[in-house]
């Protein structure tokens, strides 16, 4: 199981996305562009070695459990 440390911005983004916000809404809230949001998500997916958002969710969900 890879370990991953999220930056503050990534953490905020994941929190917003996990509440059901769209990329656009998350971008608005964080004051960044939607493209940056996509880039951050892409970066997380690469680091965790997954290909889509469902898998990204699974990975982060599992990690969240293990960190508790």
């Amino acid at each position: 199981m890879p370990r991953i440390t999220l930056s503050n911005r990534e953490r905020e983004l994941v929190a917003l996305l996990s509440q059901g916000h769209t990329d656009q809404e998350a971008a608005d809230r964080l004051g960044i562009s939607p493209r940056t949001v996509t880039g951050l998500v892409r970066g997380l997916m690469d680091r965790l070695g997954v290909d889509n958002r469902f898998q990204l969710g699974l990975a982060l969900g599992l990690l969240g459990q293990e960190h508790e």
Binding site: S18, N52, R53, F54, G64, Q65
Partner: protein, 351 residues
């Protein structure tokens, strides 16, 4: 940008209470109050980006709250829309099941610890040295008020999804007292039937710790692990409570609380509800976890891509989430599946 002032019709109830997003609620409200509109008209009138209008309309359409047959979007009657939203919230607790586990818990305590009169006693008052029957809600409230004084810890299990105004008021008064005396409170409840996610009052005082589960065994209050209160009749709360101070009974009830507390989720953290997946759901989830798309998963399972989508839609409804990322997060958090790096070759054959 000019925003046209809206006379929001008070007859239209808030869909947010039934799980709709604030955008969806606003769009629905506008259509219900001012009649059919196109998405562009809605966008202009509400000063809301078309993309958000589209999302709101898509959600409303899934729920059957709006209709676009005439070329413009129009709202269905509020009662129809609410009924549809209700059907989408499949988080109702079976109170009869709670009553059954209540009886089972009490019977097993009685079987092991002797004939304690802690289920449906006939008369009020002190039944034995360690059991007292409080035959009405009013007497229970009074006694509860006395019992609370100076307590350091309360453990509460609450299977009710909604409270009448009277219980909410007295509950709030007791809570103020508990907060004032710095009692540590843990409350295990079920997800509320009509949670308003926008309501700022929902955020709780830090003295509380709250967890949610769909599987709660009994209605129960344990004070300082010394006294426990249980309904006398789990199906008729007006019959009051039984107060037990038998040490072994209280200990076991506290342990029951802890066991369920462990399994419950913290609603502030992702609101993950424990669910059990069917064989088909698990198969779909496993394939998606491996990186399959809906289409390739469908081929593997020899079902239609539409069935795959429906299975996932059903799971998303049950977990109360809106997109695949959230679905993954929820399933990951309950350990229902894991992405490829967890899969070893010997597990890949598992269906």
């Amino acid at each position: 940008m000019t925003v046209i002032p809206l006379r929001i019709g008070s007859a239209v109830p808030s869909l947010v209470r039934w799980g709709a997003s604030p955008d969806a609620d606003l769009v629905y409200r506008t259509l219900a109050t001012f009649g059919p509109r196109t998405r562009r008209e809605l966008s202009a009138e509400l000063a809301m980006p078309v993309r958000r209008v589209d999302e709101a309309l898509a959600a409303l359409q899934v729920w059957g709250a709006v209709d676009a047959r005439t070329g413009k979007w129009c709202a269905l009657a509020p009662d129809v829309a609410i009924a549809a939203l209700r059907r989408h919230r499949v988080r109702l607790i079976d109170q009869r099941a709670v009553a059954e586990t209540h009886r089972w818990v009490v019977e097993s305590l009685r079987a092991r610890l002797g004939a304690l009169p802690i289920l449906m006693p006939a008369f009020g008052g002190q039944l034995t040295e360690q059991v007292r029957y409080l035959p009405t809600r009013e007497l229970t409230r009074q006694r509860y008020g006395e019992l609370l004084r100076g307590r350091r810890e309360t453990l509460t299990i609450n299977p009710e999804q909604a409270f009448d105004a009277e219980s909410a008021r007295t509950g709030a008064a007791f809570d103020r007292q508990l907060i004032a005396q710095a009692t540590r409170m843990r409350v295990l409840g079920v997800p509320p039937a009509d949670q308003d996610t926008l309501s700022p009052q929902e955020s709780l005082h830090p003295a509380y710790q709250v967890r949610e589960s769909l599987d709660v065994p009994v209605k129960l209050i344990v004070l300082d692990r010394a006294v426990a209160l249980l309904p006398a009749d789990p199906e008729r709360i007006e019959r009051g409570y039984v107060e037990v101070s038998h040490p072994q009974v209280v200990l076991e009830l506290a342990e029951l609380f802890e066991k369920h507390w462990q399994r419950a989720s913290d609603p502030a953290v992702g609101a993950v509800l424990p669910i059990r997946l069917s064989t088909r759901e698990q198969a779909v989830v496993d394939l998606l976890a491996l990186g399959h798309t809906d289409t390739t998963a469908a081929v593997q399972l020899r079902i239609s891509a539409r069935s795959v989508t429906n299975v996932l839609r059903g799971l998303m409804d049950r977990l109360g989430v809106e997109n695949r990322f959230q679905l993954g997060l929820a399933l990951g958090a309950i350990g229902a599946a894991s992405p490829p790096y967890h899969h070893h070759s010997d597990q890949d054959q598992a269906s």
